[in-house]
């Protein structure tokens, strides 16, 4: 699990998951989208508490390894200001067969989104901004 401001390079991350025993590789990239809940989004700002985010992320990956027969698994989450189209989060797994890879990748991204101390602030085209899931708590969960 990695948390940081550095740009995500999916090709480089993918190469690290190569394994001769692997018959399947599945990855997920979360991109910055231009619209959320009716607002035109200009950019996003991510904040994380790195120490616990890494610890919790490692726990999620360990759980995925326990549940599914994985060969390799890795996750990276960015922090700081991100522009439209940039990759905010990357998950990649390799396994002998595709079923485990699909399920494990899904498990990791789903858990990462709800468990890691990571927050995003949306900056809108109209000049306003807001923390996702906070001010609009009624829509949360």
């Amino acid at each position: 699990m990695q948390i940081g401001a550095a740009r995500i390079d999916p090709d480089a991350l993918r190469r690290e998951l190569f394994d001769h025993a692997a018959g399947a590789y599945v990855s997920f990239e979360g991109w910055i989208r231009n619209r959320n809940e009716g607002h035109d989004v200009l950019r996003l700002e991510y904040e994380a508490y790195d120490l616990i985010a890494v610890k919790e992320g490692e726990k999620v990956i360990a759980e995925a390894r326990e549940k599914y027969a994985l060969l390799q698994a890795h996750c990276v989450h960015r922090t700081g200001l991100l522009e439209l189209g940039e990759c905010a989060v990357w998950v990649g797994v390799s396994s002998a067969h595709r079923d485990e890879a699909f399920q494990a990748c899904r498990y990791i991204i789903d858990q990462v989104k709800v468990r890691l101390p990571v927050w995003k602030k949306e900056h809108y085209v109209d000049g306003h901004s807001g923390w996702v899931n906070c001010e609009r708590c009624a829509a949360y969960g």
Partner: protein, 81 residues
């Protein structure tokens, strides 16, 4: 007995509190009691169930007992990805 607690705020909570960290004296017995006390002070109104807490860099429950010298991290609703 009053305890000395270091509180760290993140994201929305930091903006509400106007500071990232403060040291306070509190009679709060649990992390949940402390949260309620601080929400009153900073005018925050996030439901407890959506928020998370860590004590001394370990994730904790809202019912966790506080002791003198603890550092409590208050996490507003997370939104990764």
């Amino acid at each position: 007995m009053s305890k000395s607690i270091t509180v760290r705020y993140f994201a929305l909570f930091r903006e509400h509190a106007g500071i990232g960290e403060e040291q306070i004296d509190s009679d709060a017995l649990t992390a949940g009691d402390l949260f309620a006390e601080l929400q009153d002070r900073h005018g925050s109104s996030e439901p407890l169930g959506h928020c998370k807490v860590a004590i001394n860099d370990e994730m904790a429950d809202w019912g966790a007992a506080l002791k003198d010298g603890d550092t409590v991290l208050l996490f507003p609703p997370v939104a990764g990805g």
